[in-house]
């Protein structure tokens, strides 16, 4: 990829730059984090003029490699105050890749109250004032842009929550069906809103595309890679059949299913919100249980969920959202959760942060647990319209806890802990504590090894032994996935099928003429993690921020598991 696009919103000017040599073998997260660390003042206000918003496709995005089209977005996070990278599927990364755009860097803040849009094409990037779509939901933005520019337009957009600079605001990306995928975590939608950019449209007509240096070797290794994905039972069978919601029953059985704001580890209604029930419901109603969010996806973890009359409600209906609203907020009703998911996509908020924030609000008595209609009203009427209550909940779980005086507030570095209780699945607790991004299961998905033995056998989820090493190893490898543009699920075959990782390295070499060895992966992971951590330390964070909230010392039924790591044990994580 041969160019960097730069947009300055203070001067309303744009430019194209050559890619510095040291960035050539970086992509996705490794690149956004490198640029944030180099160009953003760590102590800056995340919504001020010194923060920058960076988009970078994965190294292989835009090639024919399967499952490689994820886009990374990076900035200093307004939610956590840390460095942030959040990646999403959809079409944009592949379009950027084909346009040979290595990164889009957006800096500065415009004066005045006008809103803008960016348009990315083979000629670079342009800025235009936008009036028509301000205040509109994400689905309306996609529809209007398809009418305005053409059906094939790529879209990156923020909803009303991003315009209001809510800390839970996400950035949405148009997918293959003109629906949405999201850069969910860390409030990056607020950063885009602070720069007063409502959307970025992408036209890849005339794109040069990526022609591998050694096409035969590329095709051969791409085939081995695809075969490894299909061979692994998780990616070849589990995900396409049940989607990620299959985790509901499994995590429930393990006693780590967050229930009623993390007060219990099992939910009595788990079968109602399980992957099995989701699949049956979709088959019965004529939805689609196995659906890809981008061309070139052979796993198809996504699905199209329809209502009783067969009308579309939502897609990309994930375990996290289902679990957190279903069990942690006690809704226990897939139809209501699906509607909530669709509203959150439309107004543009992170479904994890928002759903956990709702659980905390329920504990505070703002609305009762199990109140599905109340949740829908809160999303539509309060968060979507920016009432004072909506702004509090839209500021994330940490703020809701402070405003209402709740002590059981599941956050690390002010970012909500997702749908695995760290007391009963301790490996993921180490990831929550030490991640450079705040609590985030995707930074080092220890659940798979703790519960299912992925990567060489079970590491007992209820014991402390081996968890720090496990999380460290996974966090290093995950940087590679996030930088090549791969779905997190590639971590399964990468851990268990020996041909997978060498094939990935071969693909990169054959595509770009690099001379990478498998050791490169470890180096990339270590360097990126250290770069991210150095940014956080310079922003004022210390090892004391790598801690779980105090309430995790209380026993969690059914195993009465507690979070029992000492500070020294956690700090060992960074000893590499």
């Amino acid at each position: 990829m041969n160019k960097i696009l730069r947009v300055n919103m203070t001067t309303l000017t744009t430019g194209t730059e050559a890619v510095p040599k040291e960035w050539a073998a970086l992509g996705g997260r490794a690149l956004t984090s490198t640029i944030v660390a180099k160009e953003v003042i760590p102590t800056c206000h995340p919504l001020g003029e010194n923060n920058k918003l960076i988009f970078a496709p994965g190294l292989l995005s835009g090639t024919t490699a399967v499952n490689s089209g994820r886009l990374s977005a990076g900035a200093k996070s307004p939610l956590t105050g840390t460095i942030k990278e959040s990646n999403a599927g959809g079409l944009a990364a592949q379009m950027f890749g084909r346009l040979r755009i290595k990164a889009l860097i957006i800096e500065g803040l415009p004066k005045g109250n006008a809103w803008y849009s960016l348009h990315v094409s083979n000629n670079g990037v342009t800025i235009a004032e936008e009036k028509e779509l301000i205040g509109k939901g994400n689905f309306a933005v996609v529809e209007a842009l398809e009418n305005r520019i053409g059906k094939k337009v790529g879209v990156i957009t923020i909803g009303p929550a991003g315009e209001m600079k809510m800390l839970s605001a996400n950035i949405s990306v148009k997918d293959v069906d003109s629906k949405l995928r999201s850069h969910g975590r860390g409030g990056l939608g607020a950063v885009m809103g602070s720069k007063r950019i409502k959307f970025i449209s992408i036209d890849d007509s005339g794109a040069p595309g990526i022609k591998p240096v050694d096409p035969e070797k590329f095709t051969a290794s791409a085939r081995i890679f695809a075969k490894a994905i299909m061979e692994h039972p998780g990616t070849g069978q589990g995900l396409p059949t049940f989607g990620t919601a299959e985790m509901v029953n499994l995590v429930n059985e393990a006693g780590g299913l967050p229930t009623r704001n993390f007060s219990l580890g099992r939910y009595e209604g788990h079968e109602k919100i399980s992957g099995e029930t989701l699949r049956e419901t979709m088959i019965e109603r004529g939805g689609n249980p196995s659906h890809g969010c981008q061309p070139g996806c052979i796993i198809k973890c996504s699905q199209v969920y329809v209502d009783k009359k067969g009308k579309y409600i939502t897609s990309g209906f994930e375990y996290e959202t289902i679990e957190i609203l279903g069990a942690n907020a006690g809704l226990g009703n897939l139809d209501q959760i699906a509607v909530a998911d669709s509203i959150m996509d439309d107004i543009g908020v992170d479904s994890i942060e928002t759903s956990i924030a709702i659980g905390v609000a329920m504990e505070a008595g703002v609305l009762p647990f199990d109140d599905g209609e109340g949740v829908l009203r809160l999303l539509r009427e309060d968060i979507g319209k920016g009432t004072p209550l909506g702004r509090i909940i839209g500021s994330g779980a940490g703020h809701v806890g402070k405003v209402f005086g709740v002590t059981r507030v599941p956050v690390v570095k002010n970012q909500a802990i997702p749908a695995y209780d760290p007391r009963a699945i301790k490996g993921i607790g180490i990831t929550y504590a030490t991640s450079t991004m705040g609590a985030d299961h995707t930074m080092g998905y220890a659940v798979a090894t703790n519960l299912m033995g992925v990567g060489g056998g079970i590491v007992d989820p209820l014991k402390k032994d081996g968890q720090v090493e496990l999380s460290r190893h996974l966090q290093i490898v995950t940087v590679m996935l996030d930088s090549i543009g791969l779905c997190l699920f590639i971590g399964f075959p990468a851990a268990d099928i020996p041909t997978c990782v060498p094939a990935l390295v071969d693909m990169l070499n054959a595509c770009f003429g690099f001379e990478l060895t498998p050791e490169w992966i470890g180096g990339l992971g270590v360097n990126t993690l250290k770069t991210e951590r150095a940014f956080n330390l310079a922003a004022g964070f210390t090892n004391k921020d790598d801690r779980l909230p105090e309430f995790f010392r209380e026993p969690l039924p059914p195993h009465n598991a507690v979070w029992d790591f000492t500070d020294e044990e956690i700090d060992e994580f960074w000893n590499f």
């Binding site: 589990g238 049940f242 059985e253 994930e318 798979a448 033995g453 209820l462 699920f489």
Partner: protein, 74 residues
């Protein structure tokens, strides 16, 4: 003795979700797996009363086992 056997995901296809069945004393988990014709290689998690268990473990009256194939979340 009475043992509750619970199956998940693809293991339910052509079998059942949950059943309480009679087994002779000292039955091992692996014997139940064999009886259900689930290939060992497909099993990713065996839970006995909510905790990871070894297939060679013997069962007691009233035990509950849960069998899972590899699934993936995120």
């Amino acid at each position: 003795m009475n043992i509750t056997v619970r199956l998940f995901a693809t293991f339910r296809f052509g079998r059942f979700a949950s059943a309480t069945r009679q087994y002779p004393p000292q039955t091992r988990i692996s014997e139940i797996i064999r009886e259900l014709q689930i290939p060992d290689t497909e099993i990713s998690m065996i839970m006995l009363n909510g905790r990871h268990a070894d297939p060679e473990q013997c069962l007691c009256e009233g035990d509950s086992i849960a069998l899972f194939p590899v699934v993936a979340g995120g």
